[in-house]
Symmetry: C2
């Protein structure tokens, strides 16, 4: 049997109260598609004299996980605002920069443009330069993408799946439909 | 004379109404420290039949810029919420994953923890597991960092500067104090 490819499961689940249960469910599903899951926070973090150093230690362990992985599935579901969790976004960028296999998904159907327009209560106008702008003058991207074009484009241009599934608010973090779509697409590619 | 190192100037300035003026000022300052600036959006983007494809084209051009660059200075000043612009975060991760020189800064003095606590109107409690949690049960990072630990840690662990300067709200996007601190630190390293 060939060695299974290792997939780093990036997402804001680590911050949830039921983090362990959700990550375990994602890891189990990952194995059914023939991949080996690597989850952030799976290993003990070396103790440190300050909380700042402890944070650096977590960064080092998680980067080590990514370096060992062959690819990433990033959960870009908006977290604490209209955008994806910055830690997850960094990790997706890191894996693109390192030339690994990439996939991403969101459990929110509203596009990046729709969410940003909502942030400005829909008060978007076409400016003199022909661009869509908010009352504060900032420009809105409108490329029918789930996130900022560097994220969505970085994955799509590499042939990776960009999966969208409208989960209910109750199942926003437990619905694995879009995550499983990514697993299936990656299993068919490799 | 040696060829100057090329620095990619990542940040949400591209969305601002006065994007060109700010990017020009950053580029000029970059040159005074002996670096060659590379700004997102500096080149013409190939036209495309759909806006989605146009977004992919921008992604391709900007990744090409990063691939040509020797390093990045990322402006992580919060944008449209409590966190850094996702496109900038992706680019910082990309450059870390590609093994380039990295630096970052913010023009907001409030830490990642402080901003997240504010997002929850300060209603943070110590949960049974000893962690700081919000009313929705999610955990807060408290590592005395300017952003999620993967970003701050990724730069600091690579020896890059993480600069903080409290700009006024009027000069949030034009104050280049922290940006210049990064230029100075990088010029002393290379």
């Amino acid at each position: 049997m060939p060695t299974p490819l290792k997939l780093y499961l990036a997402g804001p689940e680590v911050f949830l109260p039921n983090a362990r249960a959700i990550l375990d469910a994602k890891a189990a599903l990952t194995r059914t598609y023939g991949f080996e899951p690597i989850c952030p926070g799976d290993l003990a973090i070396p103790p440190a004299p300050t909380k700042h150093q402890f944070g650096l230690n977590i960064s080092e362990v998680d980067e080590g996980f990514m370096n060992r992985a062959d690819g990433v599935i990033a959960n870009l579901t908006p977290f604490r605002g209209i955008a994806a969790d910055p830690g997850t976004v960094f990790e997706l960028g890191y894996m693109c920069g390192a030339g690994k296999l990439v996939a991403c998904y969101t459990n929110v159907a509203a596009s990046h443009y729709d969410r940003t327009a909502d942030y400005y209560a829909g008060e978007i106008h076409i400016a003199e330069d022909g661009r869509k702008r908010a009352p504060d003058g900032t420009m809105l991207e409108d490329f029918e993408m789930i996130e900022n074009l560097m994220l969505h484009g970085g994955v799509e241009r590499r042939g990776g799946p960009v999966a969208v599934h409208a989960a209910t608010s109750e199942t926003l973090w437990t619905d694995l439909t879009a995550f499983e779509f990514c697993l299936k697409a990656l299993s068919e590619r490799v």
